[in-house]
């Protein structure tokens, strides 16, 4: 099934891309996708572990199972700002 992946900030720089459409097996989880991307795309090795993930714009844990047409975003840490 087809899903869309979004990268931002330093991860987009490392991926040299902000968006990626990918075929994955039914049953693929967010955590499984993360491992596959780190393995298959050299720039991403070690980069996605520090990211939160969102599925269809809502934060989702690694166990979340993906569906056809899902939009999966990897969200790096934010600055937080000086209080």
């Amino acid at each position: 099934m087809k899903i869309r992946i979004l990268f931002f900030a330093s991860v987009a720089d490392a991926a040299r891309s902000r968006q990626l459409d990918l075929e994955v097996e039914p049953g693929t989880s967010v955590g499984g996708l993360r491992k596959r991307l780190e393995r298959e795309r050299p720039g991403l090795a070690g980069r996605l572990g520090k990211c939160a993930a969102a599925v269809n714009q809502a934060v989702a844990g690694p166990e979340t199972v993906l569906s056809e047409e899902d939009e999966v975003a990897f969200l790096p840490p934010v600055s937080g700002g000086a209080r």
Partner: protein, 155 residues
């Protein structure tokens, strides 16, 4: 009312958005780009964002401020793209009947934006540019428990 995008932040827009004849207090927080960060000179800032999600997060924060602090009118905006020193990047404006609630809601609004909003900051200085990725993005305090619909099913 919420807004994420490259347009400059205009305070008068925020004020107009929170006009409410039942409210006696309006608290506003404006975040602006400053010329130093942790002792280093800053010349400009670039904000990257996931706009669709950021707008959804802002809407959830607005709903929270209305529920928790009795805010009658709320305006939340974050600008994206390139900012110079002195440019406003974020604004929180809240109108409430009394002033205590206005301060509390405004403070909560900016704290939630800083920790929940999918917006990233790249700082430019004499030594180059660096993404400030320091705090794991926090899952919003409240969200719908329903699993959100996939792309094709939304609009």
């Amino acid at each position: 009312m919420t807004r994420v995008g490259p347009e400059p932040i205009v305070l008068e827009d925020a004020l107009r958005a929170v006009e409410d004849p039942s409210c006696g207090g309006i608290a506003v927080f404006l975040g602006v780009v400053r010329n130093r960060h942790e002792g280093k000179r800053v010349t400009k800032i670039h904000y990257d964002a996931y706009p669709e999600m950021a707008n959804a997060v802002l809407a959830r924060i607005e709903a929270g401020l209305r529920r928790t602090h009795g805010a009658k009118a709320v305006y939340l905006a974050h600008r994206t793209g390139l900012h110079r020193v002195g440019d406003a990047s974020v604004v929180v404006a809240v109108a409430t009947p009394h002033r205590g609630e206005a301060f509390a809601a405004c403070r909560e609004g900016i704290e939630r934006i800083k920790s929940e909003l999918p917006v990233w900051k790249k700082e430019y200085g004499p030594g180059g540019a660096v993404w400030k990725e320091e705090v794991a993005l926090r899952k919003p305090a409240r969200r719908t428990s329903r699993r959100p619909a996939a792309r094709s099913r939304r609009t």
